[in-house]
Symmetry: C2
Subunit: 245 residues, 2 copies
């Protein structure tokens, strides 16, 4: 296994950081590595907002469900799926822009995720730790207002970055046979493999929490799926010009 | 700049491959590196279908708009956003699954993209070249049928992998000041910066095509946005259990 693959396999979310700040040149270098990721039809649909402002950081932390590290991490980035610059390009050429297609929502969102994953890896390769913050979507309207995002831009997730002040274990993943299939989707053995895997996850939580948490993967997932998932999302995205058709 | 960041910055899509096949152990290792990516609330919502079957590869190649490398690349993977195993988990615990939320569509799609980008980087770190194939979404219904994807699973994109038999230039990206903003979204200088960047893109195409193609970025984008973008997508995704609310 080469060093890059070792680095990829060593990822775990870091939620506690030392006081050491992250040089702006390093942040820029990580963001440029993000730009180097593949982009669908060259649309380059990701914009990063680096939030240093203390009041905004405190707000974002609260809106993300009181995730204190959103406030306290040395660096916080918000990754936005962005079609505003496409609008600028259309205006530049006096072209009418057809927007609101679900396809465009997919390409912009995927672009943003590929970009962010490159940022994460670049950061980790420099000894930083990171955690993605999907919780920004709890209050996506307030986040959008706070960062003055225009129409056709939405915040997909945030990311905390800094030098790790904790060293959590890598979380066990599903067996390869569940996630890699050949020529067609065959789920016959999935339930059995998930049951085996449930034991690994239970052992992981037991060791990590000193026996306090014992949940299996399938329990965690089934519990989560009995609740509504941010039901405001579709109306909000429509109001910003996405997912209209 | 460390070697990992250099690797990230050296990405360009590879569409022509040598005959050398890719060992299954290497493919497995890349997919496992994919699994190691962050996953929203531990949902692990990505499934990869490795398509070796010649007939299926020929079909996928045609459906993707006759992209011949989809058929000819040594390895072809289809990355699917997958909530089927969440359904299995709910069934296991006799829990009613609430599905169809736009939020769930976002998390599954993002999970899939983060996973795929790790696969891409792992592959490139081993000297492979890759290209993402969004064109599968041209005929997403046929792809779904061919791969026997169940409800709550959709093919987000494909990826060709193999040893490069070409060495294209890295494509210039937007200026950092367009994609990295501070504390709020300010697009005042974007149009001017895009106009400068247009010259870089024009020079890139001129050099790459021996003067045959001279298009700027904003021209390319504005041209694309005057056409409908896969207008079948929303109805199709709804029919598979996504984006209903």
């Amino acid at each position: 296994m080469n060093n890059v693959i070792k680095l990829l396999n060593s990822h775990r979310s870091i939620r506690k950081f030392t006081d050491r700040s992250v040089e702006q040149t390093l942040i820029n270098s990580c963001v440029q590595a993000g730009q180097a990721a593949a982009t669908s039809s060259f649309i380059q649909a990701c914009t990063v907002i680096q939030v240093n402002d203390e009041k905004k950081r405190a707000d974002l932390s609260e809106w993300a469900g009181n995730q204190i590290y959103v406030k306290e991490a040395p660096t916080f980035l918000v990754f936005c799926a962005d079609m505003n610059r496409h609008k600028i390009s259309c205006d530049m050429h006096e072209a009418e822009m057809l927007s609101g297609f679900t396809e465009q929502f997919i390409t912009a969102t995927v672009d943003c995720a590929l970009f962010a994953q490159n940022v994460a890896i670049a950061a980790e390769s420099e000894g930083l730790g990171i955690v993605y913050i999907g919780g920004l979507r709890n209050k996506i309207d307030l986040v959008t207002e706070s960062l003055a995002l225009p129409d056709l831009v939405y915040p997909v997730f945030g990311m905390c970055l800094g030098y790790p002040d904790q060293n959590p274990e890598v979380k066990p993943r599903l067996p390869l046979d569940v996630v890699l299939k050949h020529d067609s989707y065959d789920s016959q053995t999935d339930a059995d493999l998930i049951k085996d895997y449930d034991q690994d996850v239970q052992a992981y939580y037991r060791s990590r929490t000193g026996g306090q948490k014992e949940m299996t993967w399938s329990e965690q997932i089934s519990g989560m799926l009995q609740k509504e998932a941010r039901p405001h999302m579709l109306d909000f995205l429509k109001s910003r010009g996405f997912l209209k058709k």
